[in-house]
Symmetry: C2
């Protein structure tokens, strides 16, 4: 079953992007919002997304023209794979699709109306467990039988909400990265009651909105990326707090040794140290989990920097000065 | 104290490179070898290094000329920072230095003669504990008092050999990556008796042969790079052996999510699965170490691939086909 009618619940940073990208790919998209106030905050986000898409299409057109003249490859950074492939790029058609996406997006305050004929409902609300439970409770009786429902939650496991959806076999997680038209990966994660047919339908939906679907067959905190990124960041911080070396040398070892663009401390500065501190907290409470790392030392180090206002790149000072 | 006379013990892949690079940077370098047979194996390695340096200097000259014409940056891959900086590159002078390095390198079978006036002895022999102990025992009484001695060991902790060196405060580790004139990082690692002066002298020596010195103030198995790389590879393999996802999706999540050139399975294929299996073994024997990872599952998975001859990129088949 192809997904044609999509309802995104929540108009935050990612909710807006998911809705815009789905509409850009020709789907019939409704954003459900809680209040008139939410509409006032979401409309400008959608306007801004149209501006961003158009600016990126311009940049892609210019880069492709230059690449064809010089015979060089188009810089990967410029190209938004969510917008088009390099070998099948019609800038005017893309502009038209982006404008149509903005016009076609429907904002709706009535949840029953928003999901009345939805093939897919994408929950993309704030990361608050109780608010999500309330939402799924309200949503469950309103959806038609056909509807598949996914959560975009990053840190709360989807199984926390299964029973409130009323349709365990048609419920799973679909996790996007920020700026989805550039970072076009979508982790599709089952919980233990998800049916193979629903899983496949969501994989197909992700591909249909130009995402690279990454199948995650079992529930896993952190999906794929964070399951690797978090232990990696811990291993770097552990070297530092144990006095083995300094952030700059540790970053240099990683960057020079693996060819990666950033080492752990450069990534932490970008993510922000407040987020890092929130991630470390639970590990401090589970004795023996990831046993060799000095989590208490890591927490203390991060806390001192956060308390000093050195919270990362956005603050102008983290492990590095910006 | 500047290091002028350097003795490299061992003419293997890295020993040859360290000796050649040190001579390239103008130092007085002797390679100590165990036998006439070793001389026969080492001479061609040094000839080959001269050829490689000269070819790289040609490539750098061509790339720099092109970059100056187009206004583009020189591709990082082409540039060997161990040979020269981009903004201070005299190709002819570099060629002359490389030829002089090859001519000036002394090969010596007599250990006493080889180290009689050495400022620095670099142990770069096979990774066999007993052979290294024997070497340090022989070496200890032959060195003048001024000599600092370092081990290039990757997997054996330097403290295993401290007592055999006869000079704990002047003994530490200096760890290079392969193709040191390109991968010009050098991890300088103290053991707990190393004096600050010796540590600094080796940091300065590394810089003097155009390496980026990475200080490792405390003994740490894996130095900096492998202390991060190994847990990272485990986290990726753990996702696979627990049925969470497949190697290709896991690699895609990492590459797309972080901008790195390779994901864990692409790195494992390059390193080789036999090496990976050897690294996993000890973790299987320490219950609770890096507790959350399924080491037995990881070992079993690697063993099956190794037994099937699918040992990585060099074999044409690892997690991917080449």
């Amino acid at each position: 079953m192809a997904m044609e009618k999509v309802t995104v619940a929540g108009g935050g940073v990612l909710g807006s992007q998911i809705a815009f990208q789905s509409a850009y790919c020709g789907l019939d998209v409704t954003i459900w919002l809680r209040s008139e106030g939410s509409i006032g905050r979401t409309e400008p986000k959608l306007d801004r997304l149209l501006t961003d898409y158009l600016a990126d299409i311009d940049a892609m057109e210019a880069a492709l023209t230059e690449a064809r003249e010089t015979g060089e490859a188009v810089p990967a950074k410029v190209w938004a794979l969510g917008i088009a492939d390099t070998d099948d790029f019609d800038a005017d058609a893309c502009r038209e699709r982006a404008r149509h996406a903005r016009e076609s997006l429907k904002l709706e305050l009535d949840l029953a109306a928003a999901v009345a004929d939805a093939d897919l409902v994408i929950e993309s609300m704030a990361e608050q467990e109780e608010a999500k439970v309330e939402f799924f409770k309200r949503l469950a009786p309103l959806m038609p039988e056909k509807t598949i429902v996914v959560t975009n939650s990053s840190s709360l496991l989807p199984s926390k909400f299964t029973k409130w959806t009323g349709r365990p076999e048609k419920y799973l997680a679909l996790h996007f990265a920020n700026t989805i038209w550039h970072n076009n990966i979508a982790e599709v994660m089952a919980q233990d009651k998800t049916s193979p047919a629903s899983f496949q339908a969501v994989v197909d939906f992700a591909a249909s909105i130009r995402m690279q679907p990454l199948p995650v067959h079992k529930e896993k905190a952190g999906y794929l990326l964070n399951s690797m990124l978090i232990p990696f960041l811990f291993s770097g911080m552990d070297l530092y707090v144990n006095g083995v070396s300094d952030p700059e040398s540790i970053d240099t070892a990683w960057v020079r040794g693996t060819g990666a663009p950033k080492g752990p401390f450069q990534i932490l500065d970008t993510v922000g140290l407040v987020t890092a501190l929130n991630i470390v907290e639970p590990y401090c409470k589970v004795p023996g989990f990831l046993a060799p790392y000095n989590f208490k030392g890591i927490r203390q180090m991060l806390k001192e920097k956060v308390d000093a206002g050195e919270t990362g790149k956005a603050a102008g000072q983290g492990f590095y000065r910006y």
